[in-house]
């Protein structure tokens, strides 16, 4: 256990460090006494955490609710921004306690909290964390902070409502990733539609946003009614929707296959896999930058999480049976989306389509039936959450300055915006899956896993890596190199890198920095995540192999 703590020190120190950086942004005067105070408080938290270990999840959720209610009473926009970044940071700190106290040597659920939500319906609100869900929770709290920083200046209209919606999404996300009841999983999974729909619709940038919002809403709703049908059938015939019971239940194979297909379709809409991916580029392009970051960073992962948590353990036989089918669709999705990406002219669409490709790598890993594959899938999801968020933030920075996302109008930015070019370069490399970045670890693990069961799928699927290099490097080439297109954009200004009391602190460089830091750290030392994931992913494979 002691060694375990040492392993976690780098991330913890990072959290504290990152916290200081955020403080620097929010406070515009001398803050060193405050920093010491914050450190003391956080130390106190870590010591006290053994007492509140069972209640961390509850505290987390209650804090988010407090943030939502508190923001209602704040009038001016600047106060709303400051208060929400404070709340988001505290929530991030609390959620990092989950990681600090996490016992990596067991696959059992930890931090369990149960509330008899409806004994009449036999639905219990059980929250728990294991290796699969741990990093999704931290990712969602982390990305909320990032989203607030991203929308610091770009959101000028109805700031308060925006922040409340952001916290509402965070609340629902943490519930999705921790709840152990299939019915409540569905409730929260669907509940995210409302705030996301409103966010795309109100703060989207163009007229086509209405179309995009409709598509997003209806694709997901239509997909998920299939899941609802299965849930109702299970509820009637088994009498419970609790995960622990369903895992131990053996279905008749024909029924299991039908259930599997229905749930697969509804989750595949979220991933998204190819026939049902149309909503994703639309929604990404029309959403505000924070919305894109949330969509790519964490909402797509709900699909992957659903596969890992519910589909594989509850329907192991059907999962095994349908593995070739999934692999075929995933390979088609990878190749199709990669080829589509090359031809796009909109910066956000490129990143959106490349997300489709990466998420289908994840599908290859999930259905590889090996521990390496599943671990790689989780790792790649986390990594993609960071990388694609970073890329969307870069696009957001460009859009905030020059009000266009069409590649045609950009060129030679490396000479005019060198600091931005460096950040963008690191994110591009991570998107390619360069060794040394976090994506590489995930992709290599998935490659190892999928090689075990299907060489053809491995070879075909990993042509996507080559295509990824093609579109990413070509994108970088077109935007950053070449001649400066002075006829379109007259004035360029780079990200500021100095901290000066006169000009204040540059927000943009500081919000990109933690993402770059995480990408490199996880690329160099992946055990920060993998250590906690081992046991949980082993259980997923174990549950499958027991029956097959």
């Amino acid at each position: 256990m002691a060694s375990n703590v040492w392993v976690q020190v780098p991330l913890l120190s990072f959290v504290l460090k990152y916290y200081k950086l955020l403080l620097l942004i929010t406070m515009k005067y001398n803050i060193f006494p405050l920093l010491i105070w914050i450190e003391n408080i956080s130390n106190y938290f870590i010591e006290a955490s053994s007492f509140i270990k069972d209640k961390i999840l509850l505290i987390l959720l209650v804090f988010i609710l407090i943030a939502m209610i508190g923001l209602f009473f704040v009038r001016t926009d600047n106060k709303v921004r400051n208060l929400s970044i404070w709340f988001a940071n505290v929530i991030l700190l609390i959620s990092s306690l989950l990681y600090v106290n996490f016992d990596t040597y067991t696959f059992e659920f930890q931090y369990i909290y149960t509330f008899p939500w409806s004994p009449f319906l036999n639905v219990y609100y059980t929250l728990a964390v294991d290796g699969v869900s741990l990093f999704f929770i931290i990712l969602s709290t982390f990305l909320t902070v990032v989203c607030i920083l991203v929308s610091w200046e770009s959101i000028q209209y109805r700031v308060r409502e925006f922040m409340i919606l952001l916290f509402l999404i965070e609340f629902l996300l943490i519930n999705v990733f921790t709840v152990l009841d299939l019915f409540l999983f569905y409730v929260f999974f669907e509940g995210i539609l409302i705030p996301m729909f409103i966010m795309i619709g109100i703060w989207g940038s163009r007229e086509r946003k209405i179309h995009a919002a409709y598509q997003f809403f209806l694709y997901t709703l239509t997909g998920s009614i299939l899941m609802l049908l299965v849930i109702i059938y299970i509820y009637i015939n088994i009498g419970t929707t609790y995960w622990g019971m369903l895992v131990n239940y053996t279905f008749i194979f024909e029924k299991e296959a039908i259930f599997w297909l229905a749930i697969f379709i509804s989750l595949a809409v979220k991933i998204p896999m190819v026939p049902v991916h149309i909503w994703l580029p639309e929604a990404h392009v029309e959403a505000p930058t924070a919305g894109s970051v949330l969509l790519a960073g964490i909402l797509l992962k709900m699909g992957g999480y659903g596969f890992l948590r519910f589909l594989l353990p509850v329907f192991p036989t059907a999962s095994h049976y349908f593995t070739p089918f999934v692999l075929v669709i995933a390979v088609i999705s990878i190749i199709y989306s990669s080829l589509t990406t090359i031809r796009q002219i909109d910066l956000k669409k490129i990143i959106a389509y490349s997300s489709v490709g990466h998420m289908n790598f994840v599908m290859l890993g999930i259905f590889s039936g090996t521990v390496e594959g599943v671990e790689g899938a989780i790792f790649l999801m986390i990594s993609h959450g960071i990388v694609s968020s970073g890329l969307f933030m870069c696009v957001g920075i460009l859009y905030d300055r020059y009000k266009t996302r069409i590649i045609e109008y950009y060129g030679g930015l490396a000479t005019k915006m060198p600091i931005f070019a460096i950040f963008f370069f690191i994110f591009t490399l991570a998107n390619v899956g360069m060794p040394g970045t976090s994506s590489f670890i995930g992709e290599i693990l998935i490659l190892i896993g999928i090689m075990h069961i299907n060489t053809t799928a491995a070879v075909l699927g990993f042509t996507g890596m080559i295509f990824g290099a093609v579109y990413s490097i070509w994108l970088y080439n077109r935007v950053m190199f070449g001649s400066v297109k002075q006829e379109y954009i007259w004035f360029y200004n780079d990200l500021a890198w100095e901290i000066s009391p006169q000009q204040g602190i540059d927000r943009e460089a500081f919000m990109l920095f933690p993402l770059v830091f995480l990408i490199l750290v996880l690329g160099i030392y992946p055990n920060l995540i993998l250590d906690s994931v081992h046991c949980a992913s082993y259980r997923i494979i174990e549950l499958q192999s027991l029956i097959v």
């Binding site: 004994p119 729909f197 946003k209």
Partner: protein, 492 residues
Amino acid sequence: MLTLFSNNFSLVLPELYLFLSINILLMVGVYRSRTNILNYNGSGILRLSLLSLFFLIILYFNNVECQFVVFNYMFFSSEFILLLKILIIIFAFIVTYLSLSYLIEEKIYSFEYSILILLSVLGMLLLVSSYDFLSLYLALELQSLCFYILAAYKKSNSESTEASLKYFVLGAFSSGLLLFGLGLLYGLSGTTSFEEFIYYTSESIYSGEWGLAIIFILAGFLFKLSAAPFHVWTPDVYDGAPLIVVTFFATVAKIAAFGVVVTLAYKVFITNTEFSSTMLYSCSLISLFIGTFGALYQTKIKRLYAYSTINHVGFMLLGLSTISLEGLEASVLYLCVYLILNLTLFGVILSIRVNATNAKLVYLNEFRLLVKNNIVLAIVFTIALFSIAGIPPLMGFYSKYYVIVAAFRSEYYFMAIMALIFSVISAVYYIRLVVFMFFEHSKPLEFAFFKLVPFELSVVMSYTTLINVLFFVRPDNILLLCHRITLQFFTI
């Protein structure tokens, strides 16, 4: 032997009280409106009728006995009926409360409005507790006649009169159907009493004529419930009648019709469920279809509400058509949820008035004016719309879920899947209103100041919205209530 005088009048005390208070209020109203003709605005009678409804609720809550049959098997009551009666009175109370400001705004200064509301409430109370086809028919006519007059209450408006006439003609037609069915049934069984009828049919074998009679009788009440294919009056009446009266039709009137359909399908025709079940089933399917696809092309808010009502009636009938405990339970829950949500939806359009013209918003795309004027009202409206579209974690989702669970339990797989598909399609027109409100920016010079929301409306809407949002926290209480009340149909 039961005679008229051997009956216990204390059991029907609430109804007697209501009848007496209506008479007194009528006399007071006539006197006051004649003596004080210049500045009479009828609100005094309205307040008095509120008071009498309040006492009525107290009387029902303190009922000595809730399971009895009196007046020579003409009049009965049970826990379920009591729940329906309390619902009727509570919602009638709320609608009357809301009409305080509405009548002043619309310059309707006559006291007969409150008398008609009370009379129709009396009709509905008698309707749900009728135990004989004759008393059933009489109570139905009492209620319907009040409705016809109420629909025409805005005399200066030609649309209101037109709506009333349409309602009257179609209502008379449906009464004819009902009477035809009653006549057939009387000819076949020789009795009009439910008690004797149940006794009689427990031994006999049904044939085609019986089915015809049952279908005609149910058609008469499904008309009142505005279930398709008997829905034709609904959009026109909703569109033409005064808004407060439409609110009354959409909430209170539905409870009574629902109660009668339940009594018929679950008590009177329980020995032969084929005909009634098939009838409810097919009406449910058609209602879902028409309510979904009819609403997609509407541009007026009231017509949209009318079609949405038809859609929800389809859901209620789906629960009822299973003739099972779960189905009835789900339908009762659906009814309660539908009432609360409809109150919010109607409350929103009741509370919007353009300051300059005193006009209400009629078309859907006018709602983009709402956000700039009153963001809180827009949020309330949005929550209600998402809820009624069936998006979790709001209240509307659980009612739909419950109905579909009941349909699954009774192995109505086709119907359950159709209901889910229709509910997804119907989500389109609900979220279209959200799109109109939030996503479309109004044109530069387009702006209208709205009047302040009346106090009564803000109270009612805030409570309904709270229930809507907080239902998720603890759904068990209301589920258990529905369960307990519906159990009695199956325990005797």
